[in-house]
Amino acid sequence: MPTQRIFAAGGTGPVPRGCMHTMTSPYVIATLLFYAASLALYIWNLREPSRAAGVGATSCLVAGLCLHYLALLARSRLIHAVPYDDLFGSLSLFAWLLAATYLCLEAIHRRRAVGPFVLPIVLVVFLLAHLPEARPVKAPPAQGPLFAFHVTLNILAYSAFAISFVLSVIFLVQNRRLRDHKLGIVGWRFPALDVLERMTRSSVLIGCVSLAAGMTAGLIWAHRLEGQYWDGDPKVIVTVMILVVYVGYTLLSRTAAWRGARASALCIFNFLFVVFSYSIVNRYLSHFHRYF
């Protein structure tokens, strides 16, 4: 059995005894409320589009993001480490980046119809991250901007892939409805198939670039620390696989045989690798990486 060598960035101050339930934090409660309000307004806007509901949904999301940032900060102070130092902190950061990436996408494409499908993921992940008690961690040896860069970029990549997953699901549903002539009332409110395809490609591109940059930063950091780039950790292999399958998607989605629904199905399939990496690999297989 490999030696457990866990590295994380973080503080070096004294480790407080005991633990604390973060769900009682006012920032967490307020974030939850704003995310929930945002979701409700996005759904309302999809059912009965109105400027008030749309602007309200986006405003609540922005407020939720600000409060979520404060919640992350509070959590870091509590456990004396950066937010991604344990699985739950990393999940919380993932939820924050997912919401932020979606907000950027909404601002660029000026479409709110995808919000009702992204916000539930943000809410569930945020809840999962903050339900358990936050335990202070031991002072870790891994720290510095390069390491922080590595982790944040990798989590950003996963958020972008999560968005592309949601967009691909919407594409497949919308495509099926258009082919079956069953667009219904809500079907007219979703972005055009072409727009969904472009949004998916941009998300995947953001994910690939972030992942490549994050991996590079991680390899350099590992070399500085241990004198070698890789010591056989399965997490690295799985992450390279994720990069390969998403680059594959980017190339295939423009070919005659794959463009359209097939590319979207491929994008959905690719996201299984991300889920696998985030769950099984993080929890049971990796001996070098912890929760990112």
Partner: protein
């Protein structure tokens, strides 16, 4: 500040009568001018479209039966007898007239529910009247509010967004697949009336390029020339299919001219990029099994008709939301109107009390010869001060509290109470 409206529309009058009562732009200007010069109205606006002719106005103060006078005017202007108009004209006053205009601007009173053009027509009619100085503060405010209602209803509800014709439904479907059409190309097969409608909508939505193919080349040339398209010879139809993203067919044929094989070859040649086929022909121009080809979307006339039916129901479902916007804007307008009326009445009241004070001082001080000029001036100033306190405090409250203005909507009661009209200073 009475508002009066008379008019007729597609619900109240036959097309024959509507034609006779319609105002050309020249006539509308002339009528509005006459209404003011004859002293019937202080502010006037004539609004006439193919489905309605309406006269909006603010009558002179103390005018009686302005609506009757307007009816007489319409009859004489169009050389009709009152009997011919009987039962076809509707009359509305004040808030009812405002509601009517707001509903018209919202598209709620149109023959085609949620019609988009009506808002532009209201805007044009108002702009012309404004430029000619025919409107005043009341009609200006009323028409500006109506334009806001129209805009809000179109942006906050789906009353006008859903296509209500087969041709427009096809174009909107294309937008569900391709997004904006300014980067896409269309091929029109057949140059009949339906094709022309589709082409018109495609051009309105900014289609990048257009080609027309027809058995009779002259018709294709004519249609292409009118909309800036190119003509493709009928013999080259199959070869031209890899070029467009959208194909609209309405040719008169016995068998489908676009078979599965032909479409498959076209799709292969265009690298499987998505293609929308809108088949408006009966018998159908495109083989039904072409719908199974990867990345093609095939809609025939029945599919589009079904979409139109669904959209009609969806528009009807939007009526309560549009009516709520109308109600909200009427409330705002009435608040404004009450505020203006309050200011006018209070101004008149102040003038009347000042005159009363002057008469009172003259009468009572005449017998007090022992008072100096300075004393007399002081007494007069004190009386003025007490009157100002009595009047100014409620006036300030009236200006500041809309709820109070709403409660006191009928300012005519105050006018009558103080006999402001009979004894104007």
């Amino acid at each position: 500040m009475e508002i009066v409206l008379i008019g007729l529309n597609h619900r109240t009058a036959s097309v024959d009568l509507r034609e006779r009562v319609a105002f050309t732009p020249e006539q509308a200007r002339e009528a509005a001018e006459q209404l003011r010069s004859r002293g019937i109205l202080e502010e006037s606006l004539v609004f006439s479209t193919c489905n309605r002719s309406e006269l909006y106005g603010v009558p002179r103060e103390n005018a009686t039966d302005s609506a009757g006078a307007l009816e007489l005017f319409v009859a004489s202007f169009h050389q009709l007898s009152l009997n011919e108009l009987d039962g076809s004209l509707y009359r509305h006053r004040d808030s009812h007239a405002v509601r009517h205009l707001f509903r018209v601007a919202a598209g709620l009173d149109s023959m085609l529910l949620g019609e988009a053009e009506i808002l532009g027509q209201v805007r044009d009619a108002y702009q012309i009247a404004l430029d000619r100085g025919e409107t005043g503060p009341v009609l200006n405010r009323m028409f500006q509010a109506a334009l806001e209602v129209g805009k809000r209803v179109r942006s906050e509800t789906e009353l006008s967004t859903r296509p209500m014709s087969v041709a427009f439904s096809g174009v909107k479907l294309a937008e569900r697949i391709f997004g904006k059409l300014n980067n896409h190309r269309a091929l029109i097969v057949g140059a009949g009336a339906t094709s022309e409608q589709v082409v018109r909508h495609l051009c309105d939505r900014g289609i990048k390029q257009l080609r027309v193919v027809n058995r009779t080349p002259e018709h294709a040339v004519d249609l292409a020339a009118r909309f800036g398209g190119e003509v493709v010879p009928w013999e080259n139809l199959a070869a031209a299919l890899d070029w467009p993203d959208l194909i609209v067919t309405s040719a008169s044929v016995r068998e489908p001219i676009l078979t599965r094989g032909i479409i498959e070859r076209a799709m292969a040649a265009r690298g499987n990029r998505a293609m929308l086929l809108i088949d408006l022909g009966v018998p159908r121009n495109v083989a039904a099994d072409a719908a199974d080809i990867y990345n093609t979307y095939l809609y025939n006339i029945d599919d589009l008709s079904e979409i139109v039916e669904q959209n009609k129901k969806a528009r009807v479902a939007e009526i309560p939301r549009a009516e709520a916007i109308v109600d909200e804007q009427i409330e705002k307008f009435l608040h404004w109107q009450a505020g203006v009326a309050a200011a006018v009445v209070l101004g008149d009241l102040r003038k009347k009390l000042a005159a009363e004070r002057e008469a009172f001082v003259q009468e009572r001080l005449a017998s007090m010869s022992h008072l100096s000029g300075e004393d007399r001036a002081q007494i007069s100033a004190m009386l003025q001060e007490i009157l100002d306190r009595v009047i100014l405090t409620p006036a300030e409250r009236m200006r500041g509290i809309p709820e109070l203005r709403r409660k006191l909507q009928n300012f005519e009661a105050i006018r009558d109470l103080f006999r402001l009209d009979r004894e104007k200073p």
